[in-house]
Symmetry: C2
Subunit: 463 residues, 2 copies
């Protein structure tokens, strides 16, 4: 079947319209409402926007590009969207694995954070995470950590798009000794980054079990005042769920809703323990969720009811979560594969979460969870030019019978070849164009020595 | 702590002994009985064997190498062992995903096999799979398919080690119209490859529900006569288990045992549905198992009780299984990561299967499951020189606090840099030295067109 494509052409059909970029590839995976895939396709880009897309021959006829990237052995897809990370924790990668949450937190992570996390740590950790994310196809990420204004600087330097949540928590944190200080910090951050083309600043109360209700309420008010989302961990563990029931006679979702915390755009991370009443509340409030399959499985938090949640009309994206304990890398290709497999084995139904729904989670549904689906998440005229090329010529990528299935189950983060965010090419042929990678890796190695010494891990390689 | 290492030194200490290879790296992960990891280590190799290993300074002092490979930014590990594959099915990669087993088999796989599988198909499919396996660190694989003598030729050409099981099944197959013909084929194959340095030939009755008992008995006798293992699918699905209980009043393991099929070395693939009595039988018979986490999750077969099986003293390795429906690639790094995560979330215990046990499954325990642990599975003097180097300088591999944890949760198949099998370097700097990769990929693309046409899949890319 031949696709008929609406082109935004200029009035005079005989004169090719100038554009900044034309990218062409064997397939363009649009993730538009029809989930169209264009064979031998191309995308025309002007400044930060997609101007047109369609068959390459048509695009080349109507547009004249200042620069081009022709990738006949690759596909073009929307940049992937990570809806939950703690980017600077990349410097704690695999610091302590295979432990129970409490031991992991109390013996390793809290001491390591107390002794190491400052503005410089956060800067280098973010740069490392950004390199890893862009090299595996992530163009937008969502963060919850400390010194978020430093994370914003590093993210702009990398050229990535991000929703950055300044953490607000009920005990002394590396960047604020009280929740009131954290709220003030968040407000300053929101003021500083309002209307930024790449950064959406957000307040991020940690969770209902760590942050007082009145502080969460203030964070909500702050988010609404600036028209940004609020980020919060939500119903991640059985313990959180049971404790809420015991102490408040409400589920975590009900508790948040009862204090008005869901009145406005919210992104809840995890959503593992949700009952049907919770889903009705989340749907009604338009709350988005971040599904973190690596984290939920590695920490044994449980299996989110992803198909049920999506069927309820709730936007649930994918998240990689932190780099220590919960995950060890920030690779959405792995999260896609894992999300599909966990649901199938967890429900004993191989059809419960097909590849296309998983790819939606990593793109358009993730964008919807963040309230950014007008700007990103699919390749459509008028949207921001956030896109990746993924090579199709690796041995593990041949043969290909179904493009979407191949993306979810066979292609790897390492197949990502080029990355563009907001019309700016930030990775070309796997070379990061925006950062000094060698310098960042050297810094990361220096931090390793410091962190290891601070928590009494020797440099012995033995397990 | 400084490791004291026993070196097999020549009598005269002042004269360096000549060897064929010295490989050095930042770490040598031995997987020996003490699971020792040597920092700044080296391995000396003569012909097909490891002669010595230890700190690089010691090895360099005692041995003089004809050729060397120094990888200061990598680790050296035993080559990974895949205990269950259907290599030629690489040409069906992702042919039909997200389907129920019966629909998948009857509508796609059986027709596709009937119309396409012949000796040439098997040859090119095996070559493609071998390229993919070696580029993700697999040095030994275990196959169950048709035309196994062609698979053996292709495997020798690739330079990989393999246990190759000629399928024997109770209905007409691409290479034999009766089980008797298949048995004769298997015997000829066993005769042809007895005492091969790389290939262990094996009879592979498909499963108890597809192969008559007397045929399985004959296969068992054949295996014992030649001193090779028998391969069989075993307790993969709930349906197989329930059917055996209904028809035979026995579990699949009990049924196999009751006909004497486990009297001799056996490798059972999957082992998802096993009760405690089954485990006692398998332990007593010395039967090995292949755990296939991608396949068991993607096909929704269920979660094997891996920790319980290992605790029972049964050797359970890792397998990637086929490339269509059950998995889409042959990458043991992904299987390691998935095996650990599935167990944790399936049992809600983050400590139930730590990284080191998973790495054991992919190396020494896998070797034990195949009865090859005297030859392969760890780096020790006297063992075959099957080893890989894995780069540690990718952004997702930095920082590193624990070598084993990093291997299982952070490193990728794409980090594999060099591969040696039986003392022969077959991959160097990710270049396959033994095969014409471009030619194989072109052939695979030709087969894609043929296969797609044969099952009525158009070339339309739409999902």
């Amino acid at each position: 079947m031949r696709l008929v494509w609406l082109l935004w052409t200029c009035a005079c059909l005989d004169a090719a319209e100038p554009v900044d970029w034309i990218l062409s590839a064997r397939y363009v995976v649009t993730m538009d409402p029809q989930r169209r895939i264009v064979a031998n396709g191309a995308v025309a880009i002007r400044r930060d926007r997609i101007l047109a897309l369609g068959p390459r021959a048509e695009i080349d006829k109507h547009y004249k590009a200042r620069r081009r990237l022709d990738r006949p052995q690759a596909l073009i897809a929307p940049g992937l969207i990570d809806t939950h990370t703690h980017a600077p924790m990349s410097l704690f990668r695999g610091l302590a694995d295979d432990l129970r949450l409490q031991e992991w937190l109390e013996k390793y992570i809290f001491p390591a954070e107390a002794k190491n996390v400052n503005a410089e740590f956060v800067r280098w950790g973010t740069l490392l995470a950004c390199i890893e994310m862009m090299l595996s196809g992530t163009t937008t990420y969502t963060d919850m950590y400390y010194f978020e204004e430093v994370i914003a600087e590093a993210t702009r330097q990398a050229g990535l798009r991000a929703v950055l949540g300044q953490t607000i928590i009920g005990f002394p944190a590396p960047d604020a000794s009280t929740p009131q200080q954290a709220l003030a910090r968040a407000e300053k951050f929101l003021e500083q980054y309002r209307n930024d083309p790449l950064i959406v600043p957000a307040p991020a109360p940690h969770a209902i079990y760590t942050t007082p209700d009145d502080v969460i309420r203030s964070a909500r008010a702050l988010a609404n005042r600036y028209g940004v989302p609020m980020l919060i961990h939500l119903s991640e563990t059985r313990r959180e769920y049971d404790e809420a029931l015991r102490k408040r006679k409400m589920t975590p979702v009900q508790a948040l809703d009862s204090i008005g915390a869901l009145n406005g755009r919210t992104l809840g991370a995890h959503g593992v323990w949700l009952d049907d009443a919770d889903l009705r509340i989340l749907k009604e409030r338009g709350t988005g969720l971040a599904h973190c399959p690596s984290s939920n499985s590695k920490l044994a938090s449980g299996l989110a009811r992803v198909p049920r949640i999506l069927d309820a009309g709730i936007a649930m994206g994918l998240g990689t979560d932190g780099f220590a304990g919960s995950n060890n890398d920030a690779n959405l290709f792995e999260e896609m594969d894992l999300a599909a497999k966990l649901q199938k084995v967890g429900t004993l139904d191989p059809q419960v979460l097909p590849a296309v729904r998983v790819l939606e989670m990593a793109t358009i549904t993730g964008a919807r969870a963040l309230g950014l689906d007008k700007q990103i998440g699919s390749l459509e005229p008028g949207k921001r030019a956030d896109l990746i090329t993924v090579r199709l010529d690796a041995p593990h990528a041949i043969p290909m019978y179904n493009v979407v299935s191949q993306m979810v189950y066979a292609l790897k983060g390492s197949d990502v070849n080029d990355v563009m965010v907001n019309g700016r090419l930030i990775v070309r042929d796997r070379h990061v164009l925006t950062l000094n990678v060698r310098q960042v890796l050297e810094k990361a190695e220096q931090y390793r020595r410091k962190v290891a010494a601070s928590v009494g891990i020797g440099l012995s390689p033995n397990p």
